[in-house]
């Protein structure tokens, strides 16, 4: 079971933003999140991964308490079984594509790294550095880095942006296969409603930081 109840306020000179999430769901679902830019999707992911601390609330995943602000319990990102594809598809710029995958999961053998790269049509680029890759290629490579460590929760922030239709379908297929094999709970933030419908058990919208998903999911 995934139980999330949290609040986070961000004040700046330009605007005041409040994230307010109430979410209880069975595990192993694929949940799509839509919403306008700045609605709080990425902030929600950052809090879930442990990169940003909420002001209040609780996060419980499969009976593991990740965060309870009232009781001063807080697991660092390293202590959470959670992978995260950043919106900007971050990679390590001093490492080649293959070295990035290897660094993401140091237990992988060279042939396993090559196998992963082939899945998203990146094998030929294995010795290239991230700066030499296009936005779409970086996105696919960063997705592989997210999936090579099987975790309870996977957060994918705009995994289909910068991809052509063919690459989008490859990514959809990879996410589906990964979900069937490892059964994680996957959150996907995207503006591409069509793909979310195709991939997710449920799709919901964050509006001005407010996300409410009932127990019935």
């Amino acid at each position: 079971m995934i139980e999330i109840e949290l609040k986070k306020t961000r004040k700046s000179s330009k605007h005041h933003f409040q994230l307010d999430v109430n979410l209880i769901t069975a595990p192993q679902k694929i949940i799509g999140l839509t919403g306008a830019s700045g609605s709080g999707k990425s902030t929600f992911f950052k809090i879930l991964s442990g990169l940003v601390r909420p002001d209040s609330g609780t996060i419980k995943v499969n009976n593991h308490l990740w965060c309870n602000i009232d009781h001063k319990k807080y697991k660092k990102p390293q202590q959470r079984s959670c992978s995260y594809l950043f919106q900007e598809a971050t990679m390590f710029t001093h490492l080649t594509l293959a070295q990035n995958i290897q660094f993401a999961n140091t237990k992988l053998t060279i042939s396993e790294v090559q196998h992963w790269l082939s899945k998203l049509d990146l094998f030929e680029l294995r010795n290239q550095y991230p700066n030499a890759l296009s936005g779409g290629q970086q996105k696919r490579a960063a997705l592989i880095m997210t999936l090579v460590n099987p975790t309870d929760v996977i957060l994918l922030d705009e995994p289909f942006s910068a991809l052509d239709e063919e690459a989008q379908q490859l990514v959809v297929k990879l996410i589906k296969t990964h979900h069937q094999q490892h059964q994680p709970t996957i959150f996907i933030a995207s503006h591409n409603i069509e793909i979310l419908k195709q991939l997710c058990h449920v799709t919901t919208t964050i509006t001005h930081g407010k996300l409410d998903i009932p127990l019935t999911l």
Binding site: S49, P77, Q78, S83, Y84, F86, T90, M91, H94
Partner: protein
């Protein structure tokens, strides 16, 4: 031409760089990432050699290194070497007065490390130790080299502190800058010129290397 003062200067500079890489990198990391308020105090302390007249720094180091003072006597009793008028004393003084020249570029490099890469390493489950060695350090090689080059140049050119701590003992503390001073004092300009032109050429090459390094870094960030 007696090459000993120049060789002694190079030896002093290299040892200072090695010691400062050991001390300076963790210190720069602390100054760049610590949220402790003590870092402001420490940063001001580390930066002192930049603004202090070398004679002031030399004077206080001379007092501290004296075998009649607590620190000097402790070092003398522990390792059996006096820090005053000795090469070891010159190394310790050199490490202190060159500290900001190593710390500043390395700290600036650490601070400008891509935060997304550090965040990514965290969500990949990497420990802070691994993040430092495998992400932060490899992305700051230029900063480390710049720090080492500036330390080298500064150690090579320092005069006031060296004179006060080391004096001018041939083959022990008489480095190139001291030799130049003594030749000028005794009006042996040709001898002074030989050392001076070598230091001038080295300093220019060093500054050129720093420029080249910063150019390489800019090009990398535009790629």
């Amino acid at each position: 031409m007696d090459w000993t003062p120049l060789l002694l200067s190079f030896k002093l500079a290299f040892i200072t760089i090695i010691v400062l890489l050991g001390i300076g990198v963790p210190l720069a990391y602390f100054l760049a990432f610590s949220k402790s308020k003590s870092r402001y105090f420490l940063e001001a302390l580390v930066g002192l050699p930049i603004v202090l007249p070398p004679t002031v720094l030399g004077f206080y180091l001379l007092l501290a290194f004296s075998p009649h003072q607590m620190f000097g006597s402790w070092v003398s009793n522990t390792i059996g070497v006096s820090l005053v008028f000795s090469f070891v004393g010159l190394v310790v003084a050199s490490v202190i007065y060159s500290l900001p020249f190593m710390i500043q570029p390395v700290k600036n490099g650490f601070e400008s490390t891509n935060t997304s890469m550090v965040a990514l390493a965290k969500v990949l489950g990497k420990s802070n130790w691994t993040i430092f060695w495998k992400v932060i350090l490899p992305n700051n090689i230029n900063a480390l080299v710049t720090g080492a080059i500036l330390t080298f140049a500064h150690t090579l050119g320092e005069f006031g502190v060296v004179l006060m701590i080391g004096g001018s003992i041939p083959k022990e503390t008489k480095v190139a800058s001291i030799a130049i001073f003594e030749y000028v004092e005794t009006l042996q300009f040709e001898q002074a010129h030989r050392y001076a032109i070598i230091l001038l050429a080295i300093s220019f090459i060093i500054l050129l290397s720093v420029q080249f390094l910063s150019l390489t870094k800019k090009q990398q960030s535009y790629d």
